[in-house]
């Protein structure tokens, strides 16, 4: 019988974040946004929660006073970009193919040819998905998670990770609250359970309800961001 020397595997320490590449790109983007003085805002939600309708309304209203632009992620079709283009703001579609979320590198390449110094606000509409986008930093300053009243008030409890990863919650389709018997206090409680202290806004893209408050909120955050950027 021949003896074979068995080499035991060696344990070597690595310590590397799996999403390191994404995080590096996201950090670079955040720095670019800061230097250009643009507030980057991303929107996440389930499909059909009214992200595009809300964004179209927001872009139209913001354009009166600010320079705004949007990137919009979808698996297929350029329908959303076409809808958003009605706001007259520059819009670019990011087609992800089969990828269920946006990554920082997709945002980076979509920004090719855009002069960020010319912008006050950049919106990034993620793919409709309440699971996967939570893991990927896009370099945004603020992440909004949208919850439409037709989805039910327990959505935050079903998808706590994405709510926890977001900075602000927006309750959309407020004009349907009575029709679908949406329990708004319960929804607010649930949001606070998964992300204590989270700001909550309520809007209707159809009637315009809550849009003034939303614009004021953005205004405040932009000023705060500028002050931080100026080292104040």
């Amino acid at each position: 019988m021949t003896t074979q020397t068995h080499v035991a595997p060696r344990l070597v320490e690595v310590r590397q974040n799996v999403l390191k590449q994404n995080d590096i790109v996201a950090r670079a983007l955040r720095e670019r946004f800061r230097q250009a003085g643009v507030l980057a805002v991303s929107l996440v939600s389930s499909p059909g929660s009214g992200k595009t309708a809300f964004l179209e309304k927001a872009l139209t209203l913001l354009r009166a006073r600010y320079k705004v632009a949007a990137l919009v992620g979808d698996l297929a079709t350029e329908n959303d970009a076409a809808r958003l283009a009605r706001s007259q703001a520059p819009v670019k579609q990011i087609l992800t193919g089969t990828v269920c979320h946006l990554e920082a590198a997709m945002v980076q390449s979509a920004l090719d040819g855009w002069d960020l110094n010319q912008l006050d606000f950049l919106f990034i509409e993620n793919v409709g998905n309440l699971v996967c986008p939570s893991s990927y930093d896009l370099g945004e300053d603020l992440r909004f998670v949208l919850l439409s009243v037709t989805e039910g008030e327990d959505k935050p409890l079903k998808y706590p990770t994405i709510f926890n990863s977001a900075d602000v919650a927006i309750i959309t389709k407020a004009d349907l609250i009575a029709a679908v018997e949406f329990d708004e206090p319960a929804a607010r409680r649930n949001i606070q359970c998964v992300r204590p202290g989270m700001d909550i806004l309520k809007v209707s893209s159809k009637t315009g309800e809550g849009m003034t408050e939303f614009l004021e909120f953005l205004d405040r955050r932009r000023v705060q961001g500028k002050n931080v950027g100026a080292g104040l």
């Binding site: 390191k20 699971v131 893991s135 359970c193 202290g197």
Partner: protein
């Protein structure tokens, strides 16, 4: 489901590290996975097997250490583990705890390699 692309990143990372160290085989990858990472353990394990095919990692094991969610309680002034990710409150005093200290980890900590 983004676990397959996560698994492919893990395999790529392990292969780069193995090449750097002149390893001929990788037997296992040790991963820390936070409960708030947005990655599902079971889905990651099955994706990992697929991602390993025809690489140095074929037949290797993905050893996952699940990291619970640790928050900071502003009232107790102590780190606390939350029982549920649907309830971000101090388990001792019930104070809401927005500050997350741990639970978002998604990192390769070690490899078992044959050189």
């Amino acid at each position: 489901m983004h676990e397959l692309s996560i698994a492919m990143s893990i395999v790529e990372m392990a292969q780069e590290e193995a090449a750097r160290r002149g390893a001929i085989q990788i037997q296992a990858v040790h991963l820390r996975l936070g409960r708030l990472s947005g990655v599902v353990k079971e889905a990651l394990l099955s994706s990992y097997e697929m991602a390993c095919e025809a690489t140095l990692l074929q037949g290797s094991q993905l050893l996952i250490e699940e990291i619970p969610v640790e928050v900071f309680c502003p009232k107790c002034e102590q780190p606390r583990l939350v029982d549920s990710i649907q309830w971000f409150c101090c388990p001792e005093c019930g104070t809401p705890t927005p500050t997350v200290l741990h639970g978002k980890e998604l990192e390769v900590v070690a490899l078992e390699i044959t050189e």
